[in-house]
Subunit: 751 residues, 2 copies
């Protein structure tokens, strides 16, 4: 089969970049001095026995971060970034991830390297075996595993060229060719991306030290690899499996999975499952951690590897054992070269890149990054390679110092905006935080629609869907519809005996005016039926005139086709977040304000308050920046100030009348301050609505009055998708991790 | 207490018209010849033992239609109209309601008047007792019972003037005064609204006949009333209750409720409960059925009665037994007057209306109807009264002929648009039909928000909420959100193994253009992610060019910020309505079309097809009128026609490409034509989405191919609030009463 010709077909070429990607990134936990962490694997990660994202590899300090299968390099990096964010922010204070493949200084006594404390005894036994057979030090080396699968549409289009072969066999042939050619040419990857030039203390305690620096100690004979007598053929899948089976049979390998190669053929759960499943994807295991990439890997590298693997299918090959052996030899040699030296295989490298360029042109591959020119430049100038770059920095100080600095930098970045989840910062904040918690606890998350905040969550064998972080299967369809309608909400609450403001709904000015007699003797609120951010609301705290009433109606009707007129309830408004019958958080929202210090102007005080990293714009921060616009100016003027007024010490100046966080208001957690009887009343009201998750707003004039006293409180409205981020990251008071509460409500099995 | 002064207070007067209203309307079922119906009470009404709206009174033929408690005359009439619509359309063909208080011709043998066949033996016994004691004929007289309650805010404001008296006692005093004055002055009601001038055959078999015509046989001594020796005092509630108790004790009444009066004091369930409850409202029982009103009663009359009852509180009174006795005497006399004659109490009538006018002016009552001038005119000219109007018509033919004609007219009106529910025609059609079914089966419906299609339903001790006729508690919150998102729907269906069109979602033109390679070799559909009525959709049934693709993207992006590109599935689209795992209806929608006859032009054929009473506008009919606009003109031109073309016999000409019913398409029920395996597939797909109520659209190229065959069908989308009216009233094929299916799903207890 001539795969090159097949790839060139008009119905195949456009699909050439269709693929799926996954990455596993190993990394040692270190303290701020760059020493291996003493702490056990954090319990906040839930149970590592089934954790889909965060595991431990060989050692207790060796995290393994695993992305799900993704459909593009961009999506791959989203997940890799998010999982790193979770990992960093779940580690004990000052711990970070060592940014190099080569481990930090190891203990002199090998036994002080603690094996990962796994539950399954067979996993523990296997690690003990590896420690015994290869030594613990080599197992501490970390890397990137890159999983790659050709897209189903590409594979089907290819198979359409050779339909007589069963699809699964065809697919296996594709991957076998890619594997052979990869093993033949992967030295180029080592050349470009090798990043393990120098070892740290005690790595070479058990073997003669290498002459450093090298391109990649990890990819050289000094890295972890099988013993010399372990040889496996790549001539065919059958031969490959038979060879491995024989090695196990003869005791040269303890089990199939001990066979270690730069590229692993993947299908079923175990190696021998490949017999039934055929090869479904491949795993590259020879990628060093990229120290200058925040997540040890990059989208550009993923694109390069994808095109390189496509090239492996495109290029001719020889199906001889020598072919693979030659590749292994060249890779060994390249790994041992000095990072600043030109490679011995320069010519072959140039040929490979020229072939790559030609293939890209012939297939019209629409790629975004510049990996080709970068690779070409690296071949000409070895100092541009990753190993050389790391070496150069290490020479200026030490590799350890460089690594500590990078680790610290990445840790700092992860904590810069702790409410965000890297990779998903364009999603709503509550969804970011919920997804953070899901990743942390090992709840498998799938983004069904990123713009629509639609998640699929899998855990403990069950599947749940979540939209906007708390719209779930727990509530029934009609209940949020009820809460979306203020009139219906009030009627239902009133029928159930809860105090709601008296009033009426009107569809036109005329009928609202006719009802004036009902309102003329009391304090009232006139508001659009569907309010957003307080627009169109008029409050009359004293009985008002017909003329004022009419004006208020006009304002309200300009916002909505239906208007509510309600008695005004004096008091303080509190938001009760109720979940499954329990109050999980109570929030007081205070209008945008600054407190004077007798020295600074309002303008300066606002600028100062806006420094808070919790403040931002467009609802992508827990708090919004306080604005200095016309509304704020007017509000200040009413208090006798301008933006340039210096406010006396201790005096609070309000810049807004409305208390919305969205207009710069402060959120203050009051959960521990609100008496139990009010909490019970809020929970009961939500229950009366039939809701499981709701944010219900109570007006309470005096917290010392028992809730059961008539007039003690009134219910303003109930919200079916209440904001959670403001509870998690309040301006003042205790943080309430409502996202975790939602997650545990959906999956009580979470530890 | 001077109630007049109290009513004049500034905080009371504006509330004077605050009140609650209810009506019970009795009526004899008759056949088209005006004879008492022979049929039993229709079983379609469910169980009359607890039916809140439709009961039987004394006789099996005597319907009693009961409105719920309402807050305005307008709302009262909505319900009265709706219940009448349900009653009419549930009766056997040709049966109607006799529009008069006096019954139609009665059988010569009294025993042929069948007592209502009630389940409760005590109810049967009571009717037997009444038949024995008063004769069956008098019990056949029907009337209107008008329940009236002063508004809670009005009553509280009044009580505020006299706060020392306990509220309940105060309220009882109010109603006792109203009762005494009503009994004193209610002759005016008999004068104005009396409507029983003539009896039909055999009414007077058991008693000496009156000299007809009278103003109201029903309100005269010839109507049903207690025996002479039954006297009850209205001096106080205690005295009233004591008198009734004594009458029962001495055997002059069989039980409390046998006491019959023009006005009944109401509080608890039984008369003697008033001791505990006090009087909470009053029931006027002396209103004759208004023959010229479609529902036997009118909003204007409700307004008049309301103001009249307010006047009874306003006017002075005497708390003597003579006061009430004088009123009874005057009413007896007025009832016996000739309808054309002036009343003997003309002067008192003029005084009453003058007082009423003055009260209305002083209290600034904002009333809409002209009852005052009408009443004044009637006092001057007796021929304007209802009794006189009826008599005049009867003289021209016969009262029976007039009654038959009116009955037929009202029956015809009820059937004119059988898909509508009178009183609620501004609601969505599906909600109207659902409410119809609820009223029919005795499910208590409350309109929580009319414009928002929000109903509360109570039945069998349980409460359910329904929005837009099928958004209920049965579905979970997140499922409709899933169905609202086409991409999410497809992903979930695909994961579950259902065939959906391959494709992608794009947020900008650039990324959609980059994906062109995936689509260039196949038939595709380009559409906005959220489509409405087929806007912005381009279909390429053959592979298309990049230029066309880009144009289609521009069109789609002009409708939405996200666009879907999908493979085009050829075949016919069917809508499967699935409820609780079962397919309840399958609809084929055909684009707007006419079939030629070789004689008429397209324009004429459309006009002819638009005659169908099922066609209307604005989704308030099951089908929409076919339009003759530019889109239709273009579509015709593509087929070589104009609006004036005469189409050959049998040739179908399409006026639209899209099949939406909203643009004049035809709905054709196919439930019995679609093979079971496709029905099972549709139900399984809805189940995979976790939905209980959904309309799911399948494309099926060939119904003879088994559904399990790959490519046999594809799922386009699932709808979370699928239209039901088009299934209930299809253009062709069998009607599927989906609304009833929803109702029975919510309340399986429905018989």
């Amino acid at each position: 089969m001539d795969f090159k010709v097949m790839l060139q077909q008009a119905n195949v070429a456009p699909l050439a970049l269709s693929a799926r990607f996954g990455v596993e990134r190993e990394g040692q936990r270190v303290d701020s001095t760059g020493s291996l962490a003493k702490s056990p694997h954090p319990t906040t990660f839930g149970n590592r026995n089934y954790h889909p994202y965060i595991q431990t590899d060989f050692a207790e300090t060796q995290l393994e971060l695993i992305t799900p299968v993704t459909n593009s390099p961009a999506e791959l990096m989203q997940w890799l970034a998010a999982i790193h964010d979770v990992a960093y922010r779940s580690l004990p204070e000052q711990e970070a991830l060592w940014p190099l493949s080569m481990p930090p200084a190891l203990p002199e006594n090998e036994c002080e390297i603690k094996l990962a404390e796994l539950d399954a005894f067979e996993d523990v036994l296997y690690r003990r075996y590896l420690a015994r057979e290869y030594g613990r030090r080599k197992q501490m080396v970390s890397g990137i595993h890159f999983n790659f699968e050709f897209g189903a549409d590409l594979m089907q289009a290819l198979h359409g060229q050779e339909p007589t072969l069963p699809f699964q066999d065809f697919q296996t042939e594709v991957y076998m060719k890619v594997a052979r050619n990869y093993l033949r040419y992967h030295w180029l990857i080592t050349y470009l991306y090798g990043a393990a030039p120098i070892s740290e203390a005690n790595y070479f305690m058990d073997q003669p030290a290498s002459v450093e620096p090298l391109r990649s100690i990890r990819n050289s004979k000094y890295g972890y690899r099988n013993h010399e007598d372990v040889k496996v053929s790549y001539g065919s899948l059958e031969q490959y499996l038979a060879d491995i089976a024989k090695l196990v049979e003869t005791g040269k390998l303890s089990e199939d999975k001990e066979y270690y190669a730069p590229l692993r053929l993947r299908g079923g759960k175990r190696v021998q499952d490949l017999k039934q499943s055929g090869i479904r994807y491949i795993e590259l295991r020879d990628i060093d951690i990229q120290p200058f990439e925040r997540y040890g890997f990059s989208a550009k590298q993923a694109e390069f590897l994808q095109v390189f693997l496509l090239l492996m299918l495109w290029l001719p090959e020889e199906e001889t054992p020598e072919w693979v052996a030659q590749g292994a030899g060249q890779n060994d040699a390249v790994a041992l070269e000095h990072p600043y030296a030109k490679t011995a295989y320069q010519a072959e490298g140039e040929w490979l890149l020229a072939e790559m360029q030609q293939m890209m042109e012939e297939l019209h591959l629409p790629l975004v990054s510049d990996f080709l020119s970068w690779s070409q430049a690296c071949l000409q100038d070895p100092t541009l390679t990753v190993a050389a770059q790391l070496l150069a920095k290490a020479e200026a100080s030490s590799q350890k110092a460089v690594a500590i600095q990078l680790a610290e930098e990445y840790r700092h970045l992860a904590w810069e905006k702790p409410y965000q989840l890297a990779g998903f910062t364009d999603m709503e904040l509550s969804t970011q935080i919920l997804l953070f918690d899901a990743i942390q606890k090992g709840v498998k998350g799938t983004i069904l629609d990123q713009a629509d905040q639609f998640l699929q969550l899998d855990f403990a064998g069950r599947r749940e869907y979540v939209k906007n972080a708390n719209m779930t299967s727990k509530d029934s369809y009609v209940v949020p519809l009820m809460m979306a309608n203020k009139t219906v909400t009030k009627k239902v609450l009133q029928q159930a005996g809860f105090p709601v403001p008296a009033g009426g709904e009107y569809d036109d000015i005329a009928s609202a005016l006719r009802a004036f007699p009902h309102y003329q003797n009391r304090a009232i609120v006139v508001k659009p039926k569907s309010t957003n951010y307080g627009l169109g609301i008029s409050i009359f705290k004293e009985p008002t005139t017909l003329a004022n009433y009419e004006q208020a109606l006009n304002i309200a009707f300009s916002e909505d086709s239906a208007v509510l007129v309600e008695e005004f309830l004096p008091g303080t408004e509190y938001r009760f977040f109720v979940l499954d019958g329990q109050v999980k958080g109570i929030m007081l929202r205070v209008p945008a304000n600054v407190v004077g210090d007798g020295q600074h102007s309002v303008r300066e005080l606002v600028a100062q308050k806006n420094q808070d990293p919790l403040r931002g714009t467009h609802h992508r921060s827990p708090l919004e920046l306080i604005q200095l616009g016309p509304i704020e100016e007017l509000m200040l003027a009413e208090q006798g100030y301008t933006f340039d007024s210096v406010v006396p010490t201790g005096v609070t100046v309000y810049l807004r009348e409305n208390s919305n966080v969205s207009t710069g208001g402060d959120s203050i957690d009051m959960t521990d301050e609100i008496p139990q009887d009010y909490q019970a009343a809020a929970a009961a009201a939500v229950n009366a609505l039939g809701a499981k998750i709701s944010g219900i707003d109570l007006i309470i004039p005096d917290l010392t009055v028992p809730a059961k006293t008539p007039g003690a409180y009134g219910i303003i409205e109930a919200n079916f998708n209440p904001a959670m981020h403001m509870h998690v990251y309040p301006y003042a008071g205790k943080s309430r991790r409502l996202t975790m509460a939602v997650l545990k409500y959906l999956f009580p099995e979470i530890e």
